[in-house]
C-alpha cells in the first residue's frame, strides 16, 4: 500500500511528538538538573566529599551533624530532645514542612467532611474554589499575611481585643500560611475519595451489625486513608521546597533550604549550592515516590452510588444532629477567616495608610513607572513580562502536557517509569530548577566548538513551562483515561490515523481538562517567583511577583498595591481561558 507523504508523516506524528517532547524535557529539565548533580558530585575532593562536608556541618544538620561526625547516637538523641536543640537549615526545613503538613491535614479534613457529606448552598462553588489557593501567587499570599497579621493588621487588632495575637515572622505564621495553601489541597483529594465510597458497602456493613462508627472505621476510613496520605505527602513536598513564604514571613531568624541555595547562588558559591540542591532533591523525590506509590494503589473505577449528602440545616434538635453541624459552622467561620483575611487585608491595606483611605500606594507605582531607575522594579514591565512569560510557558507546557497525557494513558510496558519520569518536575523546587537552568543553559554549553547559550528570559519561560506541564498532564490524563477507548478505535477503523483520532475525537471530548490545565499552567507561571528570581538577570526581566518582593522589603503599601494588580491579572487570565472554552464548557 503506497502512501502519500503527508499521510506518511501523519502516521508518525505521535512518535514524532514523543521524540520532540523527550528532547524538550532533556534540554530544559533533565540536562539542567543533571548539571546540578554533576556539579555536586564533581567536587575535587572526591565524588561525595561535598555531601560529607554538608552532612557534618551543624549549620545545615544541627545536632544530627554530630552523628555523622561520629558522636554517640545516645548523646545526640538526648540533645535533640532538649529544648535548645539545633535543627540546622535542613532540619528546620523538614520540621516546618512536617508542622505545615499536620496543620494542613487538620484544617483540610473538616472541609472534606463538609464537602463530601453535607449539602448546602454554594457547595459546588466551594469545591471548585479549593483549587484557587493553589494558583494564587505565593508572594502575594505572603503579602496578604503580612497585611493581615502584621502589627497594624486587622486580624491581630481583633485578636488583641481578646488578649491573643499571632506574631509575624514566627514559625506559627509560616505554618498558617502554608496551611492556607495546602489545606484546600488535602480537602480536595480527601473529598474525592469520600465521594467515591460506595453507599452500598456502608449499608452492607450496617446490615451485618456494624454500628455507625464501626461502619465508618471498617469501610469508609480505609478508603480515606490513602487520600489523606496523598494530600499529606504532596503538602510535605510543596512546603519542604517553600521559599517566598518564608522569605516574606520568616524574617532573619528562619532560613529554609531554598533560601539558603538562593543566597549561595547570589554569592556565586555554585558548588555548595549544587550539593545542597541535590540533598533537597533527594528528600523531595523520596517523598514524591511515596506519593506515587500510594496513588498507584488507589483503585479507580466509578462508584455505583455515593453516600447521600445530609442537609446542613439540622433535621431535628437532637444532640446527634446538632453537634457535627455546630462544629462545622464554627470550623467554617475560622476557615473563612483564615482564607479571606489575607486577601481582604491585602485589598484593604492597598487603599489605606495610617491616616485612612488613600491611593498613595498606587500613586507610588505610577511614579515608579515614570521616574524609576533602570535597576528598579517597575510595574508596567513587570506586568508585561509576567504576561509574556506566561504566554510563552503556556505555549510550551500545554502541548507538552497533552502529549505526555496521551502517551501515558494507554497501558504498555514501562508506562509507570515514563509516568514517574514525566512527573519529576513536581518534586523539583523553583530555585533548584532555576539554578540548573542558569548553570546549564544560561551559562551555555560547548557543542562542537561553539558556545550555545540562551538568554535569561528564555530560561524563565522554560522554568515556568517545566513547572506547569505536570498540571496539564494531571488534568488531561484522568479525562483521557475515562474516555471509552473504542471511540478512538472507531475513528481508526474509519480511516483516521492515530493523530487524527486524537485531534478529531479525543481532544474535543477532554477539552474541559485541557482548559483547566491551561488555566493552571498560566496562573502558575504568572505567580512563579523562585526560579524567576534566580534567572532574572536584571530589572528588565522582573515579573510581578519579583516586583512585589522588591517592594515588600521597604514598605508594605506598594507591595499590597502590586499584589492587587497581580491578583487582577491572574484572575483576568483565568477568565480569558475560560472564555476561550466557549460552549465547550469551562473550568
Amino acid at each position: 500500500m503506497s502512501l502519500a507523504p503527508a499521510r506518511w508523516l501523519e502516521r508518525r506524528a505521535i512518535a514524532g511528538l514523543a521524540v520532540a517532547v523527550t528532547a524538550l524535557l532533556v534540554v530544559v529539565f533533565y540536562y539542567p538538573v543533571g548539571t546540578v548533580i554533576v556539579e555536586a558530585v564533581g567536587d575535587e575532593r572526591g565524588p561525595l566529599a561535598a555531601f560529607a562536608a554538608l552532612l557534618r556541618d551543624p549549620f545545615y544538620f544541627g545536632e544530627l551533624a554530630r552523628l555523622v561526625a561520629g558522636e554517640s547516637p545516645l548523646a545526640v538523641g538526648r540533645d535533640l530532645l532538649a529544648g535548645d536543640r539545633r535543627l540546622g537549615v535542613v532540619g528546620f526545613t523538614a520540621y516546618q514542612a512536617l508542622l505545615s503538613t499536620v496543620a494542613s491535614v487538620a484544617i483540610g479534613l473538616p472541609a472534606a467532611y463538609a464537602l463530601a457529606r453535607y449539602e448546602f448552598p454554594g457547595r459546588r462553588t466551594l469545591r471548585s474554589l479549593t483549587l484557587l489557593p493553589f494558583v494564587l501567587p505565593s508572594i502575594m499570599v505572603a503579602v496578604g499575611f503580612v497585611a493581615a497579621f502584621g502589627e497594624d493588621g486587622p486580624v491581630n487588632a481583633a485578636l488583641g481585643t481578646v488578649g491573643l495575637s499571632i506574631d509575624l515572622f514566627t514559625l506559627e505564621a509560616i505554618v498558617v500560611a502554608h496551611a492556607f495553601y495546602n489545606a484546600p489541597l488535602v480537602a480536595r483529594v480527601v473529598t474525592a475519595a469520600w465521594e467515591s465510597v460506595d453507599a452500598g458497602a456502608v449499608e452492607t456493613a450496617r446490615s451485618l451489625g456494624a454500628s455507625r462508627s464501626r461502619a465508618f472505621l471498617d469501610v469508609v476510613a480505609p478508603q480515606l486513608l490513602p487520600a489523606v496520605a496523598m494530600g499529606a505527602t504532596l503538602t510535605f513536598v510543596f512546603t519542604f521546597g517553600t521559599f517566598p513564604i518564608v522569605l516574606a514571613l520568616g524574617g532573619a531568624e528562619y532560613t529554609v533550604l531554598e533560601e539558603r541555595i538562593f543566597r549561595l547562588v547570589q554569592e556565586l558559591a555554585y558548588a555548595e549550592a549544587a550539593a545542597l540542591a541535590v540533598i533537597e532533591l533527594a528528600i523531595s523525590l523520596g517523598v514524591l515516590y511515596l506519593y506515587l506509590r500510594i496513588e498507584a494503589r488507589q483503585a479507580g473505577g466509578r462508584t455505583a452510588r455515593p453516600l447521600p449528602r445530609r442537609r446542613l440545616r439540622p433535621p431535628e434538635l437532637s444532640v446527634r444532629a446538632l453537634v457535627p453541624r455546630v462544629g462545622l459552622v464554627a470550623y467554617g467561620l475560622v476557615a473563612a477567616g483564615l482564607f479571606l483575611a489575607p486577601i481582604a487585608s491585602m485589598l484593604g491595606a492597598s487603599v489605606t495608610n495610617a491616616g485612612g483611605v488613600t491611593l498613595e500606594h498606587y500613586q507610588f507605582l505610577l511614579e515608579r513607572q515614570a521616574e524609576g531607575a533602570a535597576f528598579q522594579a517597575q510595574p508596567l514591565p513587570a506586568i508585561r513580562n509576567s504576561l509574556l512569560f506566561g504566554a510563552g510557558a503556556l505555549a510550551v507546557a500545554l502541548p507538552t502536557g497533552v502529549v505526555i497525557a496521551v502517551l501515558t494513558t494507554r497501558s504498555y510496558r514501562g508506562r509507570k517509569l515514563i509516568d514517574t519520569v514525566a512527573m519529576a518536575p513536581l518534586a523539583i523546587s523553583g530555585v533548584v530548577l532555576g539554578l540548573g537552568l542558569l548553570r546549564g543553559l544560561v551559562f551555555g554549553v560547548e557543542v562542537g566548538g561553539t558556545r550555545l547559550a540562551v538568554g535569561g528570559a528564555a530560561a524563565i519561560v522554560a522554568a515556568h513551562a517545566v513547572a506547569g506541564y505536570p498540571f496539564v498532564v494531571r488534568t488531561v490524563a484522568p479525562e483521557l483515561e475515562t474516555l471509552d477507548a473504542q471511540l478512538a478505535e472507531s475513528a481508526r477503523a474509519l480511516g483516521a490515523t492515530r493523530v487524527r483520532a486524537l485531534l478529531d475525537v479525543e481532544l474535543p471530548l477532554v477539552w474541559p481538562g485541557v482548559l483547566a490545565g491551561a488555566a493552571l499552567a498560566l496562573a502558575l507561571s504568572i505567580g512563579e517567583f523562585s526560579a524567576t528570581v534566580v534567572l532574572a538577570t536584571g530589572a528588565d526581566q522582573f515579573t510581578m511577583p519579583v516586583a512585589i518582593e522588591r517592594f515588600i522589603g521597604r514598605r508594605l503599601g506598594p507591595a499590597t498595591a502590586m499584589g492587587v494588580v497581580l491578583l487582577a491579572v491572574t484572575s483576568a487570565s483565568f477568565l480569558a481561558i475560560d472564555r476561550l472554552g466557549g460552549d465547550r464548557g469551562g473550568l
Partner: protein
C-alpha cells in the same frame, strides 16, 4: 463457495498472548467473500480478541492474518478498510448523527462517485434513520444508536464488516428485530461480515457459518444446522442449544445402527440403539446426545424408552420444559402438554435423533 474468488479474511496459526495467558491460541480459519461468519463462545474465549486482531487494534504474537489475500502484518487499522461496530456503539458524542456517519468519508471518497452528503443520506436511509442527520446521537434510543454505528461503519464502503456484540446492550425483543434487519442489509450489500456474540441462538439465527470458540481455540466450524445436529465435541454439544448427554460402551454394531450400553449410577446397564454416523467399534466408550425436542414424552412412540420422573416443569407458552430424573441422571425434554411435577413419565427417542460424538 468453492469459487475462485480470494477469501475475504484468513487467519493462519494465529496466537495472541498477554504475558502468560493466551487469549487466542493457534487459530486458523478462512472466511469467504460475502459470507456472514460468526464467532460464538463464552466470555473470555478469545472471540473479541480475534476480531481486534482482524481490525488491527492488536498485533498477533505469532501467525499470519490476510485480508483480501494480502498479509496485513504492520498495517494499521486505518489502512485495513474494515468497518467496526462495538457493543457500546462508540458514537462520537460531540458530533451529530450525520457527522458521525460522514466521519470516515474524510479519509476516503464515497463509493460510486456520490457526494459526501448523498452518501450519508443513503446510509441513514439504509438503516431507516433518514430524518436524524442533524440530531445529537445521545438523544437517540439504544437501537437507533446501534443502527447509526452500523451506518457509520458502512459509509466508506469497507471490504469487511466487523461486529463486536453489537446487540448485547439491547433488550431481547429489539435484538431479534434488529438481527433480521442486519442480515437483510448484509445480504443487500453482499459485504463480508464477521460477527462476535456470546448468544448461541443469535449465532445460529443470523449466520452462514459459525465458529464455536473456547479457551482461545476454535472447537468447530460449520453451518448452523450442521453444528446443531452434529456437534463435534462435548463443548459444542452443550454450548449450542440444550442437550442430553449420555455415555456408554458400544456392545454391537449393525450397519447404520449401534447398540450402546449406558451404565446409570444405580448399576444396571441399559442398552440404547443409536445411529452409527461415526465409525464406532464394539467396546468403544462413546458419548451420544439427544436434543430435548427429540426426547418425546409418551410411551410406545419411539424405539428407545426411558422410565423417568418429572422433577420440575416450566411452562414457556409455546412449549413446556420438563426436567426429568432418570436413574440418578438429569434429563431435559420438551413437552406439548401439561405434566405434573413428581409424575412418572416415559420418554423416548429414535436412533436417528441420537448423535454419537467422536472420542476426544
Amino acid at each position: 463457495m468453492g469459487s475462485d474468488r480470494r477469501p475475504a479474511a484468513a487467519l493462519e496459526g494465529v496466537s495472541k498472548r498477554y504475558g502468560e495467558t493466551a487469549a487466542v491460541a493457534d487459530l486458523s480459519v478462512t472466511i469467504e467473500d460475502g459470507e456472514f461468519f460468526t464467532l460464538v463462545g463464552p466470555s473470555g474465549c478469545g472471540k473479541t480478541t480475534t476480531l481486534r486482531l482482524l481490525a488491527g487494534f492488536e498485533a498477533p504474537t505469532t501467525g499470519r492474518i490476510e485480508l483480501g489475500g494480502e498479509d496485513v502484518a504492520g498495517v494499521p487499522p486505518e489502512d485495513r478498510e474494515v468497518g467496526v461496530v462495538f457493543q457500546e456503539y462508540a458514537l462520537f458524542p460531540h458530533m451529530t448523527v450525520g457527522e458521525n456517519v460522514g466521519y470516515g468519508l474524510s479519509f476516503a471518497d464515497p463509493p460510486g462517485g456520490a457526494s459526501r452528503d448523498e452518501r450519508v443520506a443513503e446510509l441513514l436511509a439504509l438503516v431507516d434513520l433518514g430524518e436524524t442527520a442533524e440530531r445529537d446521537p445521545t438523544a437517540l434510543s439504544g437501537g437507533q444508536r446501534q443502527r447509526v454505528a452500523l451506518a457509520r461503519a458502512l459509509a466508506p464502503g469497507p471490504e469487511l464488516l466487523l461486529l463486536d456484540e453489537p446487540m448485547s446492550a439491547l433488550d431481547a425483543r429489539l435484538r431479534e428485530r434488529l438481527r433480521v434487519q442486519l442480515r437483510e442489509i448484509q445480504s443487500e450489500l453482499g459485504i463480508t461480515t464477521i460477527y462476535v456474540t456470546h448468544d448461541q441462538e443469535e449465532a445460529l439465527a443470523i449466520s452462514d457459518r459459525v465458529a464455536v470458540m473456547q479457551d482461545g481455540r476454535i472447537e468447530q466450524v460449520g453451518q448452523p444446522r450442521e453444528l446443531y445436529r452434529r456437534p463435534a465435541t462435548q463443548f459444542v454439544a452443550e454450548f449450542l442449544g440444550e442437550n442430553n448427554l449420555l455415555s456408554g460402551r458400544v456392545t454391537a454394531v449393525d450397519g447404520e445402527t449401534a447398540a450402546v450400553a449406558v451404565e446409570p449410577p444405580d448399576g444396571t446397564p441399559v442398552e440404547f440403539a443409536v445411529a452409527a454416523d461415526r465409525t464406532v467399534a464394539v467396546d468403544d466408550r462413546v458419548f451420544f446426545c439427544v436434543r430435548p425436542e427429540r426426547l418425546t414424552v409418551g410411551a410406545g412412540e419411539t424405539e428407545n424408552e426411558l422410565a423417568a420422573t418429572a422433577r420440575n416443569v416450566e411452562f414457556l407458552g409455546a412449549t413446556t420444559r420438563v426436567h426429568l430424573e432418570w436413574r440418578g441422571r438429569e434429563l431435559l425434554a420438551l413437552a406439548d402438554r401439561a405434566i405434573e411435577p413428581g409424575a412418572a413419565v416415559t420418554v423416548g427417542f429414535d436412533p436417528e435423533d441420537a448423535h454419537v460424538l467422536p472420542r476426544e
